[in-house]
Symmetry: D3
Subunit: 323 residues, 6 copies
């Protein structure tokens, strides 16, 4: 029996066994009364629906949603969508010396994540902060990022819209900081502040979202308070804890966080009033859009020159030379 | 020489002397080259433009903007607007035993303020808080209001839109709390929370606005951060300082503050998600509108049945039986 | 064979017989050519889809959509939604002494309706009207409600959005009147007028909607003219029929009806211009939202702290302590 | 002393005597204390500001706002706007055999009005109605227009926006009816209904506006109820008074009135749902715009190819070959 | 075996053989693993889904999407939608003397198209252009339409919204030209220009859309540049190629094209500034709406008086007497 | 008599003589009948109102609007605005050897212009184009800029909003190109295309605006067609004139021009669909805003920390450390 390829490489003839992540599992009853299991299976390259029709009793207790699984089956196209007909399934044995590991199971192959390794991104972040000229600002960034290192290394930037995968927040922050620094220098703005704004603007997402390897959900405070206010509270506390942190600087950093969505309709309680705040909100918007565009073009496998209609951007996108 | 009436009672024949507040003063040159002083004069009932054409040199140093003044002159209608032609003017002597005080000078007669005395309103606030059933919520309100008593007694609710006078914030808070408590009981919502939301929803205005007896301006943080975020930071700190303050309660209180404008376009970073938050934002909107409507009808002295066009509300208002 | 519980208590193992309302019935052909019946079945607590696959010919003529039925079958979960597999079905015998009645058939158990009995609500309405001080206003309300008593006792407030069940209009009117009266007194507005506005604001819905026990649809005039204009015409006629009804009062009552949606975009041809009209439209909005929020929280049976996304309100709702 | 030309022909050198309408008069005091009169003077071709500085006491009682006056004076350009310096002024003697009449005074020369005489327009309206095929519709139009003939002959279509002059409503109605009939035939719609809609769509303006020869103001019901609802009430009554008036026809006529603004944001409580309603609202919009465009181009006397910015239309207009 | 009727006449009992257009074909696998073909079949009167379950191997190569086919099968209602169960299918032999032609195959019966024949419409277009008084304008229209005759005879006006069928663009242009000419005369505008605007306003659609008998798609330039800019480029070139074409006229024609959507939000980079441009955009909007309304009413076969909710128009439509 | 400073350095005591540009001149009559001249006077640093009351006859013919003038007079503050009371004025003698030149008259000191000299900017532009890798794109840019060099060196980017001074267009283009190139490299987009888009995006402004040293006005085509369509036509022609210019490249360049405002509401007939188009419209928006922000902060001479309300940006701006 052959080994399954990555999900992005599945076609209607794919069959075999492999390791996947089960992100959803529900017991259902077919029209003729027989029970079956409806699953969602994922790896780092994508996800697809799974169905288990035979021997449901035997397999139903062998795994739960949120677990890595070893599956065997074959792909089918049903109503125009890919589906995986599961023949057998059980949870992976994750012990370091398990047979499954010897057979090639690795968590990182099954979790979608930023293209660059967390260690590389973290080194970039440290270099970026080390390059800050302002002493209090450098200290603020250093303390905030140290205090939250574990989460910052893995957090997604969002549940669904952009950079919605492991390490996406850090990828987004670094890209914004680099682009923002260039624009700040170009326009004679304070590059330190734009970099600080990039690093801190979404820090409230650490409290807004609850990220688990296999799911990202909104927390209670995420829904009730939102990442902008949560981030302002976090940074306000951190500033107060630094003796002699200049009042004006604190106000400016809070302004960068509060105004980074650029408009009230987009959730910012105040609009950008400083050159740095304008640059930051412009770069945040552009960076998020570029990520969405790239992703929309990457996942579109049709031979057409344009992607399907992108509901969030409200348009088709041009694939250009890729087509 | 007769004593001037309240400004709201001026007409084109008013003349005499009186005590007023000078809120603006600028030296100008007329078309024919002569210097004159352009003033804004106010009392508790309104304000009007003043002009001093004669003996400018003699009076120019006798007072500054922001001071109480003793003036003599006569009202004129110029281009359809009331104007006061000043004949003499000097600052008031405010010592307790000054002649001006013996002549009837009293600061409170010259400052626009809420209809009820601050002491009465403060007693109502204390009674309101004493009626809160939830122990941590009562403690939070008690500590927040005690810590800010001096400001809360005099702060306006806004620079211009509604309750924009001494004590206006407290008047607005009490009115909202009373109406909100009735609605909470009617709809089976938690009245404690609605009252707490009413008391705390605009607490950030204490940092957003800089209130002086003679002027209200936005602070740096008022412009850069805004009262919603400032208030959330203040309340978050206060909650953390109360041992054992329940997490869920803290989230709900922050939610009430963050969502009280009801919509993102109106500056709330999150929208109401709980019954209490819906009631609070509805009452806040209604209370502010009622204040605007009353004021628009009160200041309209025309014999017409409808007021002039009210730019902020975008309509004329019906004066009904008052006409 | 066991008796079926209320629909809200169904789960995937429910089976047995019971009385339900069939609100939709259509004959279809399955993919393999066999005919089947697709049904919608309802009681006072909810509704669910039904399917009859066997003996279609035998049961097809035993009932029609819009009739009460006696059914037997078992619940299934299909594609994540509950479905009832019908094994036998026939119309209920509704004669007063029928066997079905002896077996417990009661129409009121099968029709969704306001929580309080119509008689109680009607008594409240009469007391409310009796409390109106203005003689012409009291007479207007008394005559309008008497003339439409039969409909007012049973009408829903809407086809779908809020209070969309038997007696919903009266429930909405009474709740608005009570809340409106409190606010009117609080704000020094004319409570008689706010109460009158609450009673009459949706009177045009009696002509806009066609309510049958088993369905609510828009009438021709409902679509072409709308309840605001229809209500204005009805009330205008009623006022003219009362000798000496004051002109200004008539104008104000028509204004309350015409402006109660608060904004043009929401269908009001004029916006509120009086204190009473502002209060009325604020209370109408709040009362409708509270009903939507309660319902959304009631029907959400998930263990999550927040409801699913509510498309009409454009957000999730917090279930708070209920969770 | 020469005779003044029409106001539209005034320039900075115009001087002499003539007959005008005084639409506004207020007594004011100049900066140096002297009293003067500020006036608005008008004829059929336009209006301009007037000032009387000398002999105020002598002329102040010789006329009132709303009266026709005989004036003498000279035009000046002040701050870029034309102004008329009045030297003498008194009310016109309007008796049939007065000297003023012998000197050429005629009311119609002083009142802005539709380009065609009321008699001609009325004859057109009667012909239009006579051409209606539907008997009940013809009767409805005939009765409504007869009942309101006096007002319909002189009413303006609006206070300010379009057709805001004597006879403007009738001009607008006739133009819409003719254009609407052509479009109805072109698109296979019911021409009778479109013509009826044109005649009746603004009938509520007779109650919304109070038209006097010298002023147009909103009535109480105009502000509180609005012409769409007022018109629906009027037409509903008229239909009921015609025995056997078909229900469906009545619904359609009310629909044409209620939906003629085309969108809720523009004040229509319902949107067009029939071919005839779409045509009517399209023609109403076009006819009003054409009137605004023509007027904007007519009054623009600059040598430029484009008019000034037109605030209501939000753009400049191209004068084309006229330039 | 009986002959199939037109698709618009299908009901649940229809069975037989006939000629149709296959516009979509995809191979799928059913839940139980068997392959089947999912098809879309169309004729001039509509389209419906097809399924081929048996002998898939035998028929799969007998036709492709985009070909005319001879099919045999029977209609079924599945989940409330009509479906055609195909028993046999093969491509049509389109040779002039083929047996299929002798059996009645005709392309035009299978392609949705404008109600009037292209030759008639073309003759109307030529007459319309011949009636243009302005020599350069007549030459411009004559040359543009000659150069694009082949496409103009068959092009649809849009991919989906209105006049989305063979000849729809020409039908739309002629209808607009006729209505626009009437309105131009009625309002004293330049009828030549309105007619020219009608003929040329959508000329860019010839480059925006790629029309094949069996499909309409957006071209690369259609997506990237859009028909307004493409049309402006085409007409600008054509004007330059006509010696002595007046500058002002060229500007006006380009203005008519650029402004014909009436508002920026609707895709016009400039808004109408001339009487002719206002008329043209009004007529374009009305003509497109009328076509949508007619179609919505035509395709609605329910017995109800109103159509289903029309998502693009955002409302139901009244079928009136048709019901 | 002292020499006047730059206008930006005027205060209420400024008096003397100097060279200025008269951009507006109109003859008026004061209230008391005396004629006077109302002027607008400007230099490279700003503009102010001028008034000439004495010897009007003597000076009236000595100069016209649009001429450089030698003036003598003194500044006054009138109604809070600076005004210059002119005592004598005549046109400058601009001959190379005139006395005025010897006294220091230089055109460039009187015309607002970009901070860097045109020659420097032009050299940067040439270097930028030389750095383009794509041969056809480099040729297109080279030919377009050569053909329009004279205008491109001096054109403003707008009449009023941003970069509204001599050389402003080139300044804007170069700034955008540099920032756009950086972002393109950062995001892996085609830098050649973003640079080309920056150079060509506003090329239509050369036809939209009529720039004279002393005024910028909209042309007929500027109003009727707009710079986006005009630019597309220009670039389309230029591409066609280059043999072998790739179709796809031409489409992309036209797309960059057509979509550069980013949204339809802002005047772009199509929205960005490629990565390069997203970057270009983002940079265009940011560059224009930065210019507006800088200018607003530069011209605000108050001691406050925030600027006055900026109507176009809809907010105050923070001057930060500048204050």
């Amino acid at each position: 029996m052959s080994r399954l390829p990555s999900i992005s490489a599945f076609d209607g003839n794919t069959a075999g066994w492999g390791f996947l992540l089960c992100t959803d599992k529900s017991a259902r009853t077919g029209r003729t009364g027989e029970p079956f299991l409806a699953l969602t299976l994922a790896d780092a390259t994508g996800e697809l629906a799974g169905r288990l029709f035979d021997n449901v009793d035997r397999f139903a207790d062998q795994f739960e949603a949120g677990e890595f699984v070893k599956v065997q089956g074959r792909a089918q196209v049903f109503n125009g969508r890919m589906q995986f007909a599961v023949e057998s399934i059980r949870r992976v044995m994750t012990a370091a010396d398990s047979q499954d590991r010897r057979d090639g199971f690795r968590e990182d192959l099954l979790l979608a994540s930023a293209p660059r390794p967390a260690d590389q991104m973290w080194a970039d972040l440290e270099a970026l902060i080390a390059g800050i000229v302002s002493v209090p600002l450098r200290r603020l960034l250093s303390e905030m990022t140290s205090a939250h290192e574990a989460a910052l290394r893995v957090w997604p930037a969002a549940r669904a819209v952009h950079h919605a995968y492991r390490g996406g927040l850090l990828e987004h922050v670094l890209s914004m900081a680099e682009a923002g620094r260039m624009l700040a220098r170009h326009y004679g703005a304070d590059a330190d502040l734009v970099v600080a704004g990039a690093v801190l603007h979404d820090i409230g997402k650490l409290e807004e979202l609850d990220y688990q390897a296999t799911s990202t959900t909104y927390t209670r405070d995420g829904n009730l308070v939102g990442h902008i206010t949560l981030g302002a509270v976090m940074v306000d506390q951190a500033c107060r804890a630094i003796p002699g942190f200049p009042d004006t600087l604190q106000s400016h950093v809070l302004h960068l966080i509060a105004s980074h969505h650029g408009e009230r309709e987009l959730g910012s309680p105040v609009e950008p009033l400083s050159l740095e705040a304008f640059i930051l909100s412009s770069v945040d918007d552009l960076d998020a859009r570029v990520n969405q565009i790239r992703r929309a073009i990457d996942v579109d496998v049709s031979p057409d020159e344009f992607t399907r209609y992108h509901a969030r951007l409200g348009r088709v996108l041009w694939k250009g030379d890729k087509a």
